[in-house]
C-alpha cells in the first residue's frame, strides 16, 4: 500500500478501512478448536479408510497367490499325464487274451491228429520208382 516514495497514501488507508469494515460484518469466524478438531477427525477417518482398503487389497492378493500356487501343482487339461511304470504281474492279472486258433488245441477235444493215417508202404518199385 506504499506509494513510489514508500509512504502509504491517505486514500489507500481509507480504502483499506472501508474494505475491512465491509468484510468484518460477515467474517464471523468459526472457533479454531472446532475446525481443527474436525480436521483431525477427518484425517483419522481417511487414514482408517485407507488402512481398510490396503488390508482388503492385501487379503485379495494373498488369496490370488494361494489359488495360483495350488493350480500350479496340478496338471493342466492340455498337458499329458506323466507315464507310469508298467508292472508285468499286474498287467497279466488284469488282461486276458486268447488266439483265435486256440479252438484247434487238444483241450478243445478236437484233434485232427487223433488217428494217424495208415500210409501204404511199398517197397516194390514200379517202373523204377517207389509207390
Amino acid at each position: 500500500m506504499n506509494d513510489e516514495n514508500g509512504n502509504t497514501s491517505n486514500w489507500e488507508k481509507r480504502l483499506a478501512t472501508a474494505l475491512k469494515s465491509s468484510l468484518e460484518s460477515k467474517d464471523k469466524t468459526p472457533p479454531f478448536d472446532a475446525v481443527f478438531a474436525a480436521a483431525e477427525r477427518r484425517r483419522r477417518d481417511s487414514k482408517r479408510q485407507y488402512a481398510g482398503l490396503a488390508g482388503a487389497a492385501m487379503v485379495a492378493a494373498v488369496a490370488v497367490a494361494v489359488v495360483f500356487m495350488i493350480n500350479a501343482g496340478a496338471p493342466t487339461p492340455d498337458s499329458p499325464a506323466l507315464p507310469k511304470l508298467l508292472q508285468v504281474a499286474e498287467l497279466m492279472d488284469s488282461t486276458d487274451w486268447s488266439a483265435p486258433s486256440d479252438v484247434l488245441l487238444p483241450t478243445h477235444e478236437f484233434d485232427i491228429y487223433q488217428e494217424l493215417p495208415v500210409l501204404l508202404e511199398s517197397t516194390k518199385p514200379a517202373e523204377g520208382a517207389l509207390l
Binding site: 500500500m1 491517505n10 486514500w11 489507500e12 481509507r14 480504502l15 483499506a16 472501508a18 474494505l19 475491512k20 469494515s21 465491509s22 468484510l23 460484518s25 460477515k26 467474517d27 469466524t29 468459526p30 479454531f32 475446525v35 481443527f36 474436525a38 480436521a39 483431525e40 477427518r42 484425517r43 481417511s46
Partner: protein
C-alpha cells in the same frame, strides 16, 4: 528442539501459530468460496488436514500466513475446477432460479465493496489480499501463483480502476 505444540508431520508449524492466523485464513477461504460459509469451513478443514498429514509441508520459504493462504487458494481452485462444470449445467437448466441460497457477501450496499467486486478477478484478489488481509504485494503474488512484477501490475491497475469508480468516495477520503 522441537516445539511441543508443533504438528507431528509439519514440525515448522505450531498449533498456536495456526490459531493466531485462523480468522484471516477463514476470511480468505470465505472469499475463495464466494462467501458460502459451509464451503469455506470445508476448505478450512481440508487445509488443516493437508497440514496435519504433511501433504502441504511448510519449509519456512515464506511466512506461515502466506503459506496457509496458498494452501487454501490451491484447494479452492481444485475444488471449483471440478464443480464449475456441474454448477454451470445446473444454472443453465434452472429455469426459475431460487435466490434463497445465494451466498451472503460482505455488506452488499457498500460502494467500496461493489467497486472491488466489479474488478477483474486478479485485480480483485490482490486488492483483497493487500488491503483486507494485510499481505505485501510480494506475498499476495505468491499466494496467487504469479510473479511479483505481474502482481504489481494488477495492483496498480486495480487502484486506478477503484479511483475512477469511487470518484466521489475518493473525494470524501481526501
Amino acid at each position: 528442539m522441537r516445539d511441543a505444540d508443533a504438528l507431528e508431520n509439519n514440525p515448522e508449524i505450531t498449533r498456536s501459530a495456526l490459531e493466531a492466523i485462523h480468522g484471516q485464513v477463514f476470511g480468505w477461504a470465505l472469499s475463495r468460496c464466494n462467501y458460502d460459509r459451509a464451503a469455506a469451513e470445508d476448505i478450512m478443514q481440508q487445509a488443516y488436514v493437508e497440514l496435519l498429514s504433511g501433504n502441504a509441508l511448510f519449509r519456512k520459504k515464506s511466512t506461515l500466513k502466506t503459506f496457509v493462504f496458498s494452501v487454501v487458494q490451491n484447494l479452492a481452485r481444485s475444488r471449483y475446477r471440478r464443480l464449475a462444470t456441474r454448477l454451470r449445467l445446473v444454472r443453465e437448466h434452472a429455469a426459475n432460479a431460487d435466490d434463497s441460497f445465494l451466498p451472503e457477501e460482505p455488506d452488499r450496499n457498500s460502494d467500496v465493496w461493489l467497486a472491488v467486486r466489479h474488478l477483474p478477478v486478479r485485480q480483485r484478489d490482490i486488492i483483497e489480499l493487500v488491503f483486507c488481509r494485510e499481505l505485501t504485494i510480494e506475498e499476495a503474488a505468491s499466494v496467487m501463483g504469479i510473479t511479483t512484477g505481474t502482481g504489481r501490475v494488477h495492483y496498480d491497475r486495480a487502484k486506478k480502476a477503484l479511483r475512477a469508480a469511487l470518484g466521489s468516495l475518493a473525494d470524501d477520503m481526501k
